[in-house]
């Protein structure tokens, strides 16, 4: 069936299909993007294609914090201005982007690349826990901030790490768990509300 489609239309079709696979891109948006690219200059499309290719070819994981990076160590680990005594543990590289965007944290990071999920068979050896422990031993780190997601998996991972790290004499803290900004109290679940009450602070 594909052989009957003229080559040009086939190429557009292929592009639409590939775009459609991207998260958040439905068939309509894929079509719109494809026709936009068709009209764009050669230079523009080449830049996009290069960017897509190099994201796979040139990026690797930082051997210290396991963030995605072009250089090893990554810019955050190399930055002399950052506070070497703090490590913030996150589930995925995107979480670093979110925290960096706040500009309210100046320490280092550690990306686990997942969370402990017993029913999915994801255990402690499937995420970068051993690497974190190796990194902490004999380091100048005095505080580990657990910033795993407030889901059951994230909580379990945080509890597990707390058990491992506390005996090293390093202070372990957890991101405050409470009401997300912009939500209404009446919709909050019991677990979130209980923790919000327990974690209340002086005004």
């Amino acid at each position: 069936m594909n052989s009957e489609i003229p080559p040009a239309a086939g190429a557009v079709d292929r592009l639409i299909q590939e775009l459609n696979r991207l998260p958040g891109v439905g068939p309509k948006s894929a079509q719109r993007l494809a026709y936009h690219l068709l009209r764009a200059s050669d230079e523009q499309t080449k830049m996009l294609a290069d960017a897509i290719l190099s994201v796979k070819q040139k990026t690797k994981l930082c051997s210290t914090c396991f963030n995605i990076t072009d250089t090893d160590p990554c810019p955050i680990c190399r930055n002399q201005q950052r506070d070497l005594t703090k490590v913030c543990v996150v589930e995925q590289p995107q979480d670093i982007l979110a925290l960096e965007h706040t500009k309210s944290y100046n320490g280092l990071y550690h990306v686990l690349h997942g969370a402990i999920s017993p029913t999915e068979g994801i255990g402690t050896n499937d995420i970068r826990i051993n690497e974190l422990m190796e990194r902490l031993k004999g380091s100048s780190v005095t505080e580990v901030i657990l910033a795993t997601n407030p889901t059951l998996e994230g909580e379990q991972t945080a509890m597990y790490l707390n058990k491992l790290i506390t005996p090293l004499g390093i202070r372990v803290t957890r991101l405050a768990r409470g009401l997300p900004f912009g939500t209404e109290l009446e919709y909050a679940d019991d677990v979130t509300l209980t923790r919000a009450i327990e974690g209340r602070q002086e005004f």
Partner: protein
């Protein structure tokens, strides 16, 4: 007669899988619809009003809209969030094991009210910090009763004679105990002390009051865990993923108790 487009049910959330950018597919265990799957849109976004009510190990009231392939969750309210379970590593591991077992044994869309009640009461007992070994062993045997795999513990499965009050053998393939004369006919059978057989009968009997007064020595507890685990593995033809995590945590806390605190 067409079914109404929306409906409500109580449910315990027993499994979740990511769907697209911000959604999840949830497996719910309900009192009257059995095990069902439903889509929860947007629950992975921080502003989701439903996320906390749809976390694993939560008992919630859920409103759903029927879809062509899968129903969509439109509203939810927690009945019991089981906070003590979620704040304790070992207890959440125990509870996840119980939910995985229900998920494995339950067929889709088949009402089984006793199983719902059993799971609910098991989560309650775990969150009240009752002896988690007893709670889980009782849960396992009661679940096996409910789903039709009640092991035969009173008489020999081969010759049907009542068992003598001595070490006999448990044979997963035969679904119960073998007496000493029949045991050689079956290659895969585990010896089980009389004490362990008595404990299994009590657990199977269904009187939780008496069960909760049992004292388990670590050896007996381990024997029971192994024999039931092997039977379940035989029935499901696979290992339970959450059992490995439970074992890992146990091994670790065992180590921690034995070795003195590391110098700092």
């Amino acid at each position: 007669m067409p079914k109404p487009r929306t409906y409500q049910t109580e449910a315990i959330i027993i499994k979740k899988t990511k769907l697209g950018e911000a959604g999840r597919i949830l497996t719910l265990y309900t009192p009257h619809l059995g095990k069902i799957q439903a889509v929860a849109k947007g629950v992975r976004r921080p502003r989701s009003k439903m996320a906390g009510h749809l976390e694993l190990l939560t008992h919630s009231q859920i409103a759903l809209a029927r879809g062509r392939n899968i129903d969509t969750i439109t509203g939810t309210q927690t009945i019991n969030g089981f906070l003590p379970l979620k704040s304790d590593l070992e207890l959440s591991a125990c509870a996840l094991y119980a939910t995985e077992l229900v998920n494995q044994f339950a067929a889709d869309d088949v009402e089984d009210y006793p199983v719902f009640q059993l799971l609910l009461v098991t989560l309650q007992r775990l969150s009240q910090r009752e002896n988690s070994d007893l709670v889980l062993r009782y849960f396992e045997l009661q679940l096996l009763n409910a789903v039709g795999y009640r092991p035969q513990l009173e008489q020999c499965v081969a010759c049907r004679k009542p068992l003598k009050e001595t070490t006999n053998a448990f044979c997963p393939g035969a679904g119960g105990m073998l007496c000493s004369s029949c045991r050689p006919t079956q290659p895969f059978a585990y010896p089980l002390s009389w004490e362990a057989q008595k404990a299994l009968r009590l657990l199977q009997g269904g009187d939780y009051e008496s069960v909760s007064r049992m004292t388990l020595t670590p050896e007996l507890s381990h024997q029971l865990e192994v024999v039931i685990r092997n039977y379940i593995r035989y029935l499901l033809e696979r290992d339970l993923k959450s059992a490995a995590w439970l074992d890992a945590l146990k091994a670790q806390s065992g180590q921690a108790n034995l070795s003195p605190t590391a110098p700092t």
